[in-house]
């Protein structure tokens, strides 16, 4: 029986990667809070995570030479546009408060995923040492 890190670590590596990507998008939203015409974006975290887990659509490889479709980026994390609650005159759809709370929430979720990931590693280590 071989040790599979993918199976051992579960969903957390993908969650951490997606969390960092979402932090980048939310940071761009906050940074462009005063840019005229900027449209706030976000990713559908649940759908993106499901696709990253392989439950979504994936390319079928019919030849051994076919490259896999995961080129360092998750297929399902195309950023969507937010629906603004209040229209602004300059066409900017960033709601600073909403983005701020989403950023904080994302940071906490990221830390939680890291914590769980850390626990998984600790578990693996104690299993390897056999103490």
């Amino acid at each position: 029986m071989s040790i599979s890190f993918d199976a051992a670590l579960g969903i957390y590596p993908q969650a951490v990667t997606l969390g960092s990507r979402r932090a980048e998008i939310l940071a761009a939203n906050l940074a462009n809070g005063d840019t005229p015409g900027y449209k706030a974006r976000d990713i559908d975290f649940k759908a993106a995570l499901q696709q990253a887990q392989g439950q979504g659509l994936s390319l079928q490889a019919t030849h051994a030479g076919h490259l896999s479709h995961s080129l360092g980026q998750f297929p399902g994390d195309e950023a969507l546009y937010r629906i603004p609650q209040q229209a602004s005159l300059d066409g900017n759809t960033v709601d600073s408060q909403v983005e701020h709370s989403e950023f904080m929430q994302n940071a906490l979720q990221y830390q939680a995923s890291l914590h769980f990931l850390s626990g998984k590693f600790k578990g693996l280590l104690s299993a390897l040492r056999g103490e």
Partner: protein, 137 residues
Amino acid sequence: MSLFKVFDIAGTAMSAQTLRLNTTASNLANADSVSSSIHQTYRARQPVFATLLDELNPAAPAGGVQVLGVVESGAPLQQEYAPDHPMANEAGYIFHPNVNSIEEMANMISASRSYQNNVEMANTSKQLLLRTLQLGQ
């Protein structure tokens, strides 16, 4: 690693907001700089922000802020009849800049709040990255 890009994004935004604070300071400082010629009078300056897109992938969602330039306000100047003023022209008029002090104050508060937002964002990202470095320890 996407979290490192947050620093770039926050950095561009902070530099843009600093420029906005700079122009606001210049506008407020020159609010009373009268002139004897309509062409030499100070006009309120405002930076123009735009999203900095990734050249390789323009559809990428994340990008910082760039300052396209600084434009001068087209609002009409106030002219005042003050023949005793040392700067008065032949007709006895002096020209006041078109700086709206209240607008500039609101602008300044908005810029400083945005700057704080970006600093906080960079701080949070730093903490997340430090936690990531400590993974498994």
